[in-house]
Symmetry: C2
Subunit: 432 residues, 2 copies
């Protein structure tokens, strides 16, 4: 992936800010955002602002589209939904000018943010920030429509839900910006969802690696891809609230002290299902015969576990989004009816995946054991387990999700008053 | 103005259709439009469809903008308002595909419709239809977002209210299309506004020249600039209703038979004002000293009349939009206080300009006389008169507008039952 950035000199005077849908959700909120942008400019920064669509707008547009076509072409959906950010960008530029500033809005194809042609989930291939730099040099606040790009054929593409985060971090990377501020409706990244765990604590800092895990495990605060960009180009990401001036959470390179924290946060996903296929023949191609038709159908399989019986026959279990079960069963019946027979398959819905994440796990043993103990104490049955270097996930019945999250948060000592605030504050120079 | 069209071979199989805001104002209406596009395709045409924003959408967007900024930058307004057509275009493409067709939407910059940089009233400089032709060749209905273009710097521009008409005719010209159908919420071009004159008659045909006059004299059915394009590139324009299958009005090259019709239609504008400056010194530069500051302020002066007294002193009167009177007086006080003194200036508001139009005037004498007689019979005082080869306009008090239109319509014999239907029907081959 060739961000034009790599050859640019470091530009410590550039700040990239991104505002989400609720932060630009009304004319009053847009005025508040304009004030914040101009304050940053007065503080000596060249300011680039990336905006999402006004809250509710994308859903309104897609709702119209689905009224007209139940299986709509993704290219046209991107054409339609990209307008939400275009309107926000223009409106914010006007709001900034109404407060005496100078501003100009730019679209994805004007910046130019080149993506592949995977409509609705396009990936950024390169960012050419010349147009941005030219406007910054004139003293303007540059307002960039988030979420959108353009493919090599000139089609409008979008980056998927949360894609404005990725726009912002990619532009920050391309500009070698000091930092990328992600303004949202929460105060930062928490040790757990504060709606579930009242004494959840805002993290002062978190490593890119942990944030990646959290983003892929259900935390909605940052799009996964934006964290990948941040990590790759070492852009410090500051997740904070547009409704206050409080420091949020810095997502930064791993620091030595982070290793002391075995578990940084607990997170959980919803709406998972599990398909189990038993008594599979002893045959090395069995797994691929089952998983290939699912991949061909574009169904993302998550946790995969296989157990062998003493007789050599295997049982394969995997999780997938509950909404995909019907399609998955259909694909399997079509492609391998011999393996996927009614008598040996079993589907369970209403599952959650509860995970603990922390870079300290690399150097601490027994975290999985502790997790099982905590869940067992609450009589929560674990369907499947999946581990990585820095996370452990347990698939459980959905009805125990909140209980499990609270128990793990308490059991790993993550709450306010349970741990000191060692990891708070912005990154020091040496980190970057 | 270099339309790329000029070197293309004639393409009699291409039809351009344009649908206005009410014609695409709901999902139901979009479905009806899709049906009509596909019917044209089934009838053997390659179909290009130009769409306006859904009715009310442009006003909603500009309303948001004006809430944020009372003197908004036009560039940003164009950025914002252009999204209305983008949404319509994507939605119509989806509606066509839902009915089994193939469609693709294209924006102004994708087509590419190059304009100057006069935001909010940009003029088309060239149209490059390669992108359109490539998609037509694949059997797709090409849906083009109307009203918008792109300037040489890549900024989004808009063509002013009614600009989608101009988009459609310009594309029809560039494609050497058979015809450009303008679908609207009225059945065609009438001899007068049917809301004012109940027995107004739909015209079967009208010449470009007359339509130009009508468009500049208050008829809202076609943007002036679209008629200019049609005339220059001889694109037959068919103005018709999207709510019926009835033939509408063909705007075509002047035909011999049209000369028989002295007056084709009566039209009227509202909200005009008149400024009169008396006792002007005998000085050849006086007129330009008065008119230049107005031009500099971007104020469009319409009818200008000057009368000389026997003593050599002049009285200058001109009309302008009532909304511009304040700015005009300010500009004049600033730049020529000696000429524009309170004691010799006089402003009248609440004026209308009532006009009769017809190519037959060229060869018929006495039309002005007849017009004055008709107005005099109703005791309507004429403030100013302005004539061209094919129209006569009288500025009158606004409160007599409807009365004047009805009297002129009757007096020139334009109503149903007053004249045969000689000029109806589509253009014959020889006309084109």
């Amino acid at each position: 992936m060739g961000l034009v950035a790599s050859n640019r000199p470091s530009n410590s005077s550039v700040l990239v800010q991104k505002y989400g849908g609720t932060s630009v959700g009304s004319t009053d909120r847009l005025r508040a955002v304009a004030t914040r942008c101009l304050a940053a400019q007065r503080a000596g920064k060249q300011v680039v602002v990336v905006v999402s669509a006004m809250a509710g707008e994308t859903n309104r547009l897609l709702g119209l589209a689905h009224q007209l076509n139940e299986g709509p072409c993704q290219r046209e959906l991107d054409m339609i939904s990209a307008t939400g950010e275009q309107v926000s960008a223009g409106l914010l530029a006007l709001a900034i000018e109404a407060q005496g500033g100078q501003a100009v809005s730019l679209l994805g194809h004007q910046v130019r943010i080149l993506t592949d042609s995977a409509f609705a989930r396009a990936r950024i291939k390169s960012v050419d920030v010349d147009a941005v730099l030219a406007r910054l040099a004139l003293g303007k606040v540059v307002v960039v429509a988030g979420f959108q790009g353009v493919d090599a054929d000139g089609n409008i593409t979008t980056l998927g839900r949360g894609g404005s985060d990725t726009t912002a971090v990619a532009i920050a990377a391309a500009l070698n910006a000091d930092a990328c501020e992600i303004y949202t409706d929460v105060e930062g990244v928490f040790t757990a969802d504060p709606n579930v765990v009242p004494n959840a604590r805002k993290l002062g800092r978190i490593s890119y690696e942990c944030m990646l895990e959290l983003s892929s495990l259900g935390a909605k605060v940052l799009q996964l891809r934006s964290v990948e960009f941040g990590m790759k180009y070492e852009v410090p990401i500051h997740v904070r609230s547009s409704f206050s001036d409080a420091e949020g959470t810095w997502v930064v390179k791993e620091e030595f002290a982070m290793e002391d924290v075995v578990v940084a946060a607990v997170t959980a996903t919803d709406n998972e299902a599990k398909i189990t296929i038993g008594r599979l023949p002893e045959d090395a191609s069995v797994q691929s015969r089952i998983l290939r038709p699912l991949a061909n159908a574009g169904i993302v399989v998550d946790v995969i576990v296989q157990a062998l019986s003493p007789d050599g026959r295997a049982t394969l279990s995997f999780t997938l989004p509950a909404s995909e079960v019907k399609r998955a069963r259909h694909a399997l019946v079509e492609s391998c009816p011999d393996l996927f027979s009614t008598d040996r398959t079993h589907t369970v819905g209403d599952l959650s995946k509860v995970s603990v994440v922390g870079v300290g796990m690399r150097s601490h043993a027994g975290v999985a054991l502790r997790m099982f103990e905590i869940l067992a104490k609450e009589n929560i049955r674990v369907h499947l387990v999946s581990t990585s270097e820095i996370k452990i996930s347990c698939v459980i019945d959905c009805r125990y999700k909140e209980l499990a999250v609270r128990a793990l948060h308490e059991g790993f000592g993550l709450g306010r008053g349970q741990r000191d605030q060692r990891e708070s504050g912005p990154p020091t120079q040496s980190l970057i």
